[in-house]
Symmetry: C2
Subunit: 434 residues, 2 copies
């Protein structure tokens, strides 16, 4: 299948096989709430305009003008896989068929605003995220961090191989790629023999993650099977789960990470659908012991998605240096297992809820998905290429960029970019009664 | 000050000194999304109707018809304390002054629907809760639970006296009082020498908590001082943080409670404002060591709120038995400290965000706020009065009711009820590939 509507470079993240959904505003209206679009090559298709031209007139259950006029994908996500697939198919036919009736209208001058240059739009968060959950599904990452936080003998807890460990995160501070974040202030205890101190985090980190959006959800009190979970997932984004390791280490026992995480989480703005990722399914790592029956599913549970993290250090911000090369396929717990586990208590999942995978570290040092692991808790310098610059953790004004793609035969299913810069901490107002 | 608009019984939860805000529908329209009302005696004042009669015509910054027509309080919460206070004052004048011009209109027949019997309305969740956080702020509860989960030597972690420990909870499963919940399924490991098993929780518990709603929030990256936090709080509700202790114990290390909590959280529907609670401020327990300066505030940080938990056991559901008598004043970490700590990382708080206190246990056994503590982890039976019925944990079809009030001079500031029944667990669909 080839796109004949616009030309798509072979290395583009957004060929006709991809068609990720996002929320955009033309740059002149960057402050406007946005509408739903689909990326193709270096263009954005305006789904409101295409709805008005009748492209989805035969898609049962979809009022395109209404659903795509919203500045979030939640309403579309709630419609379910048959509608998602019908829209995907209608778009592929429109893009590949020169004689498509809507193409005729566009070339006849009715569709000037159907496609807009990607370079001229502002991207927003793709959904109103009701709840955000983060898992801890990479065995390599959990083992590495466990070793550093709790010692070798307690690295992987006894529950870890029996269930996908997860925790509730903060939804309000999830931002779209490109939003700068301030280094957090907080309590930390650099010297365990002394009292804790207050100030900006001295061990700020990135975490290479991906995340899936829940499409259709479940009623409170009604669990989902693994099969239902698989059918409920809408699509995926890249995610940087910024972490303040010193704040986290001091606060996290016994109720888990809190301020060490909630100052900001960055996601890429284009949601790549599970349908686009379907050809890239691969077996997940062998699970031993076998999980309980409610976590078992048929067929391949993993996805072969190449992932990279680059840093632009503040000392030379025109250059990027590779920090991590990893792959989603290393992840021990499959996405569908994460979601089925999440809902097994009866917890209700809603359209637009976001679930992060946890840091996706691989088996080798070059595939470690965080500075904590790369610098082994700050014990060694990480060299940035041959620049002479080194890092143990992220410094002010550093930029971290995550990218990812599935390699097809002559095309790539890419995720665009997940970029964020760390700004200096803001001062906390002087307390009046200190 | 006395209400002359309707008669208010001395033991009523809702005298003129209270005026809690909530979202209601007339029972005939129970499925409608609701609108904002205020409780007085056994009546609900319809704030849309009162806005239409001009009661808030002179309240700067408030479009009453628009703000109170919403089926949530978020828009009102966002307006800030000067508006909250102006509305409270306007309502008190209307209720206490027979010659109030709006009273004249009502008695002239223009306001038939201004007051509706509480018994004839359906109450909804008071707000769209964007994020929900739960703290762990009672020293007695943290010590009791810590002893049971980690042994005497690790009961209170080193961080506990330095910061208000908290964690992110699940917002989607917060329900209004009266909503029945299903017992959760999940993994637990009753025998630590054996593999975990799956099934309905066998150690289902309540937690006596209160929670505050954030009114005005803060921008991402910008912390709040303790003073700003105090000014930002809108009001409080009662909360039952249902907990499945066996699921929680198996899953919670290292990332905190997850499925052991996210199957449901019940709150009372009437939000008692911080302004109504102001006369009941008391000193909080002495904090030793002194917290870091960003957690210090002037004046009394605690609130004297009497709290009770009753159970209606399934064996005799027409009788209530007292389980717990406690008081918010026992809480070690003040509400304003919780909120200032939450935002110190730069985490953005939004109107309608909910923060729970954690279980409010007092120093004596009768004041323990959970079955876990009362039955000391199931080691002893808790007798329900002299009925001969006992409990270690909550059984199917039991009803738990939390109530609370501040005792004024001749009146009570009450919170209404926070009631929930536990229904049997739903079966999880048989996995196809077990």
């Amino acid at each position: 299948m080839e796109c004949t509507f616009v030309s798509v470079a072979p290395e583009s993240d957004f060929p006709i096989q991809n068609l990720p959904f996002g929320v955009f505003s033309p740059s002149a209206l960057a402050d406007s709430p946005g509408r739903v679009g689909v990326a193709i090559g270096d263009q954005v298709l305006d789904l409101v305009a295409l709805s008005q031209l009748g492209l989805f007139a035969h898609t049962a259950g979809l009022d395109g003008v209404s659903v795509f006029s919203k500045p979030y994908l939640n309403d579309f996500m709630a419609l379910g896989r048959p509608v998602w697939r019908a829209v995907r198919q209608a778009l592929q036919e429109f893009l590949s068929n020169d004689r498509h009736p809507v193409r005729q209208q566009v070339s006849g001058g009715n569709g000037a605003a159907v496609a807009i240059a990607l370079s001229s739009v502002t991207m927003h968060l793709p959904a109103k995220i009701g709840d955000y959950t983060d898992f801890y599904a990479s065995r390599e990452h959990a083992s590495n961090v466990g070793m550093m936080f709790r010692g070798k003998d307690n690295a992987l807890m006894p529950n870890w191989t029996h269930l996908p460990v997860g925790y509730h995160g903060r939804a309000s501070s999830i931002v779209a790629s490109g939003t700068a974040l301030h280094r957090p202030n907080g309590q930390r205890r650099p010297d365990p023999a002394k009292a804790p101190v207050f100030g900006p985090s001295a061990r700020l980190d990135y975490e290479l993650e991906m995340a899936f959006f829940v499409g259709t959800g479940n009623e409170l009190g009604t669990p989902m099977t693994v099969e239902q979970a698989e059918a409920a997932m809408f699509g995926m984004v890249l995610m940087n789960d910024w972490s303040a390791r010193d704040i986290q280490a001091w606060e996290y026992v016994p109720l888990g990470p809190f301020l060490g995480k909630n100052f900001g989480t960055t996601i890429s703005p284009w949601v790549v659908t599970m349908d686009a990722l379907e050809p890239f399914r691969v077996a997940q790592p062998t699970q031993d012991p076998e999980p309980l029956p409610y976590l078992l599913g048929a067929g391949a549970g993993g996805y072969d998605i190449n992932l990279e993290v680059h840093i632009k250090p503040h000392e030379c911000s025109d250059k990027s240096f590779l920090l991590t090369q990893s792959n989603l396929k290393y992840m021990y717990w499959a996405l569908r297992q994460q979601l089925a586990h999440h809902a097994v208590s009866g917890c209700n999942m809603r359209p637009g809820d976001l679930c992060g995978t946890g840091t996706i570290s691989g088996p080798t040092e070059g595939s470690f998905g965080s500075m904590l692991e790369l610098s082994w808790s700050g014990q060694r310098d990480v060299a940035l290429g041959d620049s002479g610059i080194t890092r143990k953790f992220i410094e002010d004004r550093d930029v971290i960029k995550i990218s990812g793609y599935c390699q097809g035969n002559g095309f790539r299913i890419g995720f665009g970019e997940c970029v964020g810069q760390i700004l200096p901490a803001k001062q906390v107002g002087p307390p009046k009664h200190a």
